[in-house]
Symmetry: C2
Subunit: 376 residues, 2 copies
């Protein structure tokens, strides 16, 4: 919570939940990344928070942009980024979207299979491609499936295929899992990446770049290591696995760039119990899983919640959203302690909500509008 956000909320009069993001925190985060990984280019993961204010600020600070769609490419351009600072980082692209990105000047594309390479070769000839490899994601709080990437042995084939089709086989990417609490998590992935570099070199293909992905955590309830710790751990990994031929590197922070910059103000709509015998309270807020807090899915992300009664006696609650959907429950398996004095009408502050909230919110579920946001 920053003084600027506190001041903004003090003067706010409208009804309904809202997100407030302090751009000064975003600026500080960018500087910390730039300082902690001085040899890496920062490609901000636009999907984390694509607000024009965040994008313009980061563009002015010199950031590059990792984008997931043509719309995100257009937003990055509108914010002042030149096309050479944009990566089309989604491994799942329609060929006509690759063509549109190419028209817009983008020359850097993610791939993870031969079919995707062929789309890029046809629609964005001569471009750079990097191949995403699978990584186990141990230590991450947001589930990492095998959705993106391929086995390192297949990556070598994919990059060779790109090379043969006239693309520049540029490098390797991976993702150690979102909200990654272990700075050592990059080590194993860097070992795999170095293996792909060697296998490609044996085929006469010289890769240049390792995309270290995102995964840098935001502080929620638990403390997380500082960005500096991640920076030095990654640098050691690079030296260990690449020796004196350290490649260019890219990082793609999203959550780590904007997560802790935002706070959602919400309202307690109801506090109740289900029977005369049960102690556990149900606390219903005016925001839930479909209003911006999608990352509470499977109770993955546990946000800190501040109330006007902090310091009072606490007791366990189940926290749920305002919709008529029974799945719209935030924390139930692991109940959440809140002050016993919490009452209907109280405003609560949900911290660490600058990333992956606004754009996840449903367009109109139950008639509720999408999450409102202010970037100050």
């Amino acid at each position: 919570m920053t003084e600027r956000i506190r001041e903004f909320l003090r003067n706010r009069r409208e009804d309904g939940p809202c997100l407030v993001v302090d751009l000064e925190v975003v600026r500080d985060n960018y500087m910390a990344f730039a300082r902690s990984l001085p040899d890496s280019r920062v490609f901000y993961a636009v999907k984390a928070n694509p607000s024009p204010e965040v994008l313009s600020l980061l563009a002015s600070l010199g950031s590059s942009f990792d984008t997931a769609s043509v719309v995100e490419i257009e937003m990055a351009l509108a914010a002042g980024a030149t096309p050479d600072r944009i990566s089309f980082g989604n491994t799942i692209k329609k060929e006509r979207d690759v063509a549109r990105a190419f028209e817009l000047g983008v020359r850097l594309f993610a791939v993870d299979c031969a079919a995707e390479v062929e789309k890029v070769a046809r629609a964005a000839p001569g471009s750079r491609v990097f191949c995403r490899i699978l990584c186990d994601g141990a230590g991450a709080e947001w589930p990492l499936s095998r959705k993106f990437g391929c086995e390192p042995s297949l990556a070598v084939e994919v990059l060779e295929h790109a090379h043969r089709l006239g693309l520049e086989a540029y490098g390797v990417s991976f993702h150690v899992g979102s909200q990654q609490g272990n700075p050592q998590a990059w080590d194993q992935a860097l070992a795999s990446a170095a293996g792909v570099f060697r296998a490609c070199a044996e085929r006469g293909i010289h890769l240049s770049m390792v995309n270290l992905g995102g995964g840098f955590p935001a502080k929620y309830l638990r403390d997380v290591p500082a960005v500096e710790t991640y920076g030095s751990s990654i640098f050691e990994g690079l030296m260990r696995h690449f020796g004196n031929a350290i490649p260019e590197t890219i990082i793609e922070p999203g959550r780590g760039m904007v997560g802790n910059a935002g706070i959602i103000e919400a309202e307690v709509v109801l506090v109740s119990t289900k029977s005369a015998e049960e102690d556990i309270r149900w606390v219903y807020l005016d925001i839930g899983k479909f209003g911006g807090l999608a990352e509470t899915m499977d109770e993955a992300i546990r946000y800190p919640i501040r109330t006007p009664h902090d310091g009072d006696e606490m007791s366990d609650c189940i926290i749920a959203g305002p919709t008529c959907d029974s799945a719209d429950v935030l924390y139930e398996r692991t109940p959440y302690a809140l002050p016993v004095s919490l009452a209907i009408g109280d405003k609560v502050l949900i911290e660490g909500t600058g990333a992956y909230t606004t754009t996840y919110s449903a367009v109109a579920f139950n008639g509720f509008p999408p999450l409102r946001s202010y970037h100050i």
Copy 2:
């Protein structure tokens, strides 16, 4: 799939997934409910699909409306419903929303605890309230939590509290769980409701109405019993538990009213495997969990998918959406058999998607627009 939808899609030229709903199917569904439960008033659950075309059609057929928010009340009124045909069925309401509903003429409110009764008594004096009771939801495909309702013993207190505060203690509601495959599921809940009626009568409070909720299934992959079967099973339950004093009844179909009326057309963006050794294909569509298929959460709802190659040899696939979110996977734990000849660029039809799709879709996640829809 109806001939009208087939014809519409044949002439469609735009890019991106879309939902097409055949209003004639909605009309048929309404008539089936009216015929199968002739003594029940139908309150369509607006949240299932609040498109103006659906609401206007149902209003013209004589339907009433179960609403979750002030916006949904306004939409039902705009579609031609009079306020006496509207229930504010969400048990989680801000007091100012209760007041706004009262101003709009609504006089029927759901409650499940004393605090909610007090809001209604203050903001909508003299109105009718029904108390939702908990129900175990066995046999339902969409998870039913304990989010809504209270134990029947507490319901008696809640209704007595309403009576004392000058409200009309009108009845009891329950929900047997969405996509309920067992027509007998209403029996146990009716027994509980009858118990609440008796306990209230002993206190001199005579309830009038049982709200039988929704839960009526749409056909997805498996066949479901016909609405007639539900109707007769419910009628038997009413006779068994209420004898010759059968109360007024309400039903709140949502999925059962519009689910089978809609089809989503989507496109195969990518088909790939993760290594040279693995057989299982990953099929990536241009729609996923955040683009309207939220009900694939935990693989709860398994939609039928038609392809241009149906009839060819089949093999197991993991099906995923187009976003850069690793959680955006539709079916993985239980893989989905699709034709081996399925190719990038193919159009697929996702059936049974008329309910709980459009409004669940994210406002702009990854830059993708919300699900487009047409009601014909």
